[in-house]
């Protein structure tokens, strides 16, 4: 046998590596072990002092991040993080979302709502210890008003601003172009002037590490597609949160998020499907929470799109321009059954596009304007309107069949199943529904162009209804016949509605404004450009063996994550000091170590045996 010169060296090296692995492994495992135990107060030997006794709430996410720049970021996840990082002048209350103190302790509207005067709290500080003054507010607002690129995210909120001034350190005066009732200080994150004026190009600034902020948490670090870490801000004017850190952890797949919650890799998961939600019910250490969301779902009925100057566009069936047909569709739709069967009851019956979680503006179920499911009345309405049943039961008028297309998202089980209920109901009253299953991008493109009869849609609504009402006015219709140049919720246009819109916008008496808004909702309900079906609950689950004390918005029935505010994580605190899960990864490490050792030893043995056998034979 010819032995290669390197063989002995190789064998010696293999043995050395194996030995080194044996020695190094226990040390490596011991060092790595405390890492997953962060969410408790358990201060076992830890390689990193920063997390020795840190209480970290870990939230599973799959959200996009463009940046954490409050002027330009438009995705949901960073927008939420920005809510925690920067306080507004006026915050949305946890109780019902109405305006409550933010940086401003109090405010008053003067000159019929044309001038708003805000007074800041005393002694507020940024997270770096610098004082928060009216100069920061003025700097932020003026940047948005004067630099178009800095209006990307919230430019619409300052479009009515004429001037912003600071007569002294504690006072901010906002002068508007036209009077407005919605508080102008809402929803705009105020940034620290002393930090941002040193940034060379604020429009492209990513703002993704060591952020100086004024909210309950400030961003520490961001690793794309891996994690976002925020730490508690001890200088927050309402007092520091009760946990030390928030950590968003990336999971591409929602089933993986559920497994991560079960194994204890994360503490909170949101946006669960009803199946996932039910599967987590009763699991030890986990509490499921179904909260009233701020999103409505509706069937949009295309009344015939027009541009702002009256040019018709789109492909709506002309029959839908007839309000009697649209009303008949509402009468023939059993939204109660849809909620119970399709959504498994995990939601609230809808009346309009303002969800029940905003009780100040919502149109109540028992409002006299609300009609109930009544197929007989639907048939009578169509009969009276001249739609007569044909031989196949489908109604005909002027030789045209009452046949409507309905787009449903092929990826959305809820829409698919709702359509299966809806089509037979319509057939029953004499309307043929042609269900067209397609992808969400096509639906989005076609709905913009008015190229549909019926489709499922929905919006997340803000605490102040002004924007949502606004996109139902003629003033907001598209300017071009391809549907661009304006955002219209359902192509709805009624000059009377517009008149009420202008009235509510400058009505400073909140009770009166509520009355006007409800009148508008009733009008929209009667005109039936949409049939609101439900307000789906937000399905969430968390490790109740580790954390408790989440504040809901709205109170009692509301949600934890994705609030229009920072309340959810402000009051949450750790349960005791025991760590139930979290040993998972240690076992994983030991198993991996074990596998490596076995492979190395096995390889060495194999190598030696093979050498011996070869020597025997050849």
């Amino acid at each position: 046998m010819r032995i290669r010169p390197g063989a002995r060296t190789t064998r010696a090296f293999s043995l050395a590596v194996a030995a080194a692995m044996m020695v190094a492994l226990p040390a490596g495992v011991a060092d790595a072990a405390p890492a997953p135990q962060v969410p408790t107060a358990d201060a076992t030997a830890s390689p990193s002092p920063a997390k020795a006794d840190a209480q970290t709430l870990r939230i599973a996410t799959s959200g996009f991040v463009d940046s954490f720049n409050p002027f330009t970021s438009i995705y949901l996840l960073p927008t939420n993080a920005i809510r925690y990082m920067y306080e507004y002048l006026v915050q949305n209350s946890a109780v019902d979302g109405s305006p409550t103190a933010g940086l401003a302790a109090e405010w008053k509207a003067e000159d019929g709502g044309k001038k708003w005067v805000y007074t800041l709290h005393d002694g507020m500080k940024w997270s770096d210890g610098q004082p928060i003054t009216s100069a920061d507010v003025v700097y932020t607002y003026r940047q948005m008003m004067t630099v178009p690129a800095l209006g990307t995210a919230n430019g619409n909120l300052v479009s009515n601003f004429a001037a912003v001034d600071a007569p002294d350190d504690k006072t901010v005066v906002v002068t508007l172009k036209t009077p407005q009732a919605p508080n102008p200080g809402s929803e705009i994150p105020i940034v620290p002037k002393h930090v941002w004026e040193k940034v060379s190009d604020p429009a492209t600034f990513a703002n993704d590490s060591d952020v100086v902020g004024s909210g309950p948490f400030t961003l520490v670090s961001y690793k794309a597609n891996q994690s976002i870490v925020l730490k508690a801000n001890p200088n927050f004017w309402r007092g520091a949160p009760k946990i030390d850190r928030l950590q968003y952890i990336y999971y591409t797949n929602s089933d993986a998020q559920v497994q991560a919650l079960r194994s204890g890799d994360v503490d909170l998961v949101t946006a669960l499907s009803p199946t996932q939600f039910d599967a987590l019910k009763g699991v030890d250490g986990i509490t499921t929470h179904s909260g009233e969301g701020r999103r409505y779902t509706s069937l949009s009925l295309n009344p015939g799109f027009k541009t702002r100057d009256g040019k018709p566009f789109g492909t709506a069936n002309p029959a839908l321009a007839d309000v009697a047909v649209r009303q008949a569709i509402r009468l023939g739709t059993d939204t109660d059954t849809l909620l119970k069967k399709v959504l498994d009851g995990k939601g609230v019956l809808a009346t309009s596009f303002i969800p029940a979680s905003f009780p100040k503006w919502h149109l109540a179920d028992d409002d006299p304007a609300i009609v109930t499911f009544d197929p007989a009345a639907a048939k009578a309405k169509l009969d009276a309107d001249g739609w007569k049943p044909g031989p196949d039961g489908i109604r005909v008028k002027d030789g045209k069949k009452l046949q409507l297309r309905m787009m449903v998202d092929a990826d959305d089980l809820t829409e698919q199943s709702a359509a299966e209920y809806f089509a037979p109901w319509m057939k029953n009253i004499g309307i043929a529904i042609d269900v067209q299953s397609t992808d969400s991008d096509t639906i989005s493109a076609k709905s913009t162009k008015g190229d549909y009869d019926i489709y499922f849609t929905g919006w997340s609504v803000n605490p102040d209804p002004d924007y949502q009402l606004g996109i139902n006015t003629c003033m907001n219709l598209p300017t071009n016949t391809d549907g661009t140049g304006g955002t219209s919720q359902d192509g709805y246009c009624n000059p009377k509605f517009d008149a009420l819109y202008n009235q509510q916008r400058s009505e400073l008496d909140e009770t009166k404004r509520q009355g006007i808004v409800r009148d508008m909702l009733r009008m929209n309900y009667a005109d039936t450009a949409q049939v609101a079906t439900w307000y789906a609950n937000s399905l969430e689950a968390y490790r109740s063996d580790r954390f408790t004390g989440f504040t809901l918005q709205p109170e009692k029935t509301g949600i934890i994550a994705n609030q229009a505010g920072y309340w959810g994580y402000l009051t949450v605190h750790a349960v005791g000091a025991s760590d139930q899960a979290g040993s998972g990864a240690n076992v994983g490490l030991i198993v991996v170590g074990g596998i490596v050792v076995v492979i190395v030893i096995g390889g060495v043995i194999f190598f030696l045996m093979r050498r011996r056998r070869m020597a025997d034979v050849e």
């Binding site: 790595a32 438009i74 619409n156 891996q226 994690s227 591409t252 991008d441 989005s444 990864a585 076992v587």
Partner: protein, 347 residues
């Protein structure tokens, strides 16, 4: 002389003779030239397709981005202008070409950074995952394949072929989720996703083990669904060699059966698998999409998945072009290498 009867030593001799006999030079150049030209044509097609295929997709990226936001028309126009979507199509195509040929690949809508640098960042994560899986799958598949082929019809063969084919037919997504549920969610043996723990250990060894523990489930998933193809090819190609005369010679020399297989049959049977390995290497990166999505592995596959949901057109175009380029280059390599390894292709 038929292919099956060329013992490895003779193959080497023929190879050496060929090299000395020069006339092979011109056809070789022509062969290489033809293959390279073919690859270039494919690449040009890919680049053109990369732009138009995604442009004809329905949907306005700005509308999708603004879907959950209360944005005014002016703000949406502003966004369109920032993303260059208000330019005429031909101008956009020109910009795209410039971006491709300067290897910058445009700026991602979501990440606000150049697609080339994004791909550069995520490339190594994917290589770590898929490379490990490929090495394991190839080693396991070839080893099982030659064992099974040598004793084809035996119980070992039936079990090996059967189980590998069953795993080959299992949907990757499903297998991944099941493993995740059992070993992540229920037994807590392995992390449920990602590449590193949110708070990774401070020491180097701990970090290596941390990444390794995150790799176990995705690697097992990838190996399980692909090793069957190596088993099958290796098994079939070894069976072809089994009746060859040179094996009889080897046995007549008094070699043990084990050595006859390892020294003589397997090296010859390995040839067809070379092409397969290279083609697989090309598909490695693209093939990671499903596994990376299930296990939230921060690699190119996940990047692509998110680009589709975005829709982040520049990123989507960039990953499409890069994936295709890798496959084209690897196939070209396979063609060239095969010719170098197997004298039969040259004759």
């Amino acid at each position: 002389m038929t292919a099956n009867t060329v013992p490895p030593t003779e193959a080497v001799i023929i190879d050496e003779m060929g090299a000395e006999q020069a006339p092979r030079g011109v056809p070789a150049l022509r062969y290489v030239g033809a293959k390279v030209a073919g690859a270039c044509v494919s690449m040009v097609m890919v680049i053109i397709l990369g732009f138009f295929a995604f442009k004809i997709l329905p949907g306005d990226p700005v509308a999708v981005m603004a879907r959950e936001r209360q944005m005014s028309a002016a703000q949406m126009d502003q966004l369109r202008e920032q993303l260059g979507l208000n330019k005429p199509l031909l101008e956009q195509f020109w910009d795209y070409l410039v971006n491709v040929f300067t290897l910058n690949l445009g700026e991602s809508y979501v990440y606000k950074t150049s697609v080339a640098s994004l791909i550069g960042q995520y490339f190594w994560n994917t290589i770590l995952l898929t490379g490990t899986a490929a090495v394991l799958a190839i080693a396991l598949g070839l080893w099982l394949g030659q064992k099974a082929g040598w004793r084809h019809g035996s119980t070992f063969d039936k079990i090996t072929s059967g189980s590998s084919l069953v795993l080959w037919s299992v949907p990757t997504f499903w297998l991944g989720l099941i493993l995740l549920m059992i070993f992540g969610g229920t037994l807590h043996w392995f992390p449920t996703g990602g590449m590193v723990s949110p708070d990774p250990p401070a020491d180097a060894m701990g970090r290596v083990l941390d990444v390794a523990s995150h790799m176990v489930l995705p690697v097992i998933t990838m190996v399980a669904v692909v090793y069957a193809q190596y088993v099958m090819v290796m098994r079939a190609s070894l069976m072809e060699e089994m009746s060859a005369d040179y094996l009889t010679t080897a046995r007549a020399k008094g070699l043990r059966e084990d050595l006859v297989r390892r020294r003589h049959a397997v090296p010859n049977a390995l040839l067809p698998t070379v092409t397969l390995v290279f083609m697989h290497l090309g598909g490695l990166i693209a093939g990671a999409v499903t596994v990376e999505t299930v296990f939230s592995w921060p690699g190119l596959g996940k990047l692509t998945f998110e680009a589709i949901s975005g829709p982040d057109l520049p990123l989507l175009q960039g990953t499409f072009v890069v994936f295709s380029a890798v496959i084209i280059v690897m196939n070209l390599f396979a063609d060239l290498l095969y010719r170098q390894l197997d004298p039969r292709v040259r004759s």
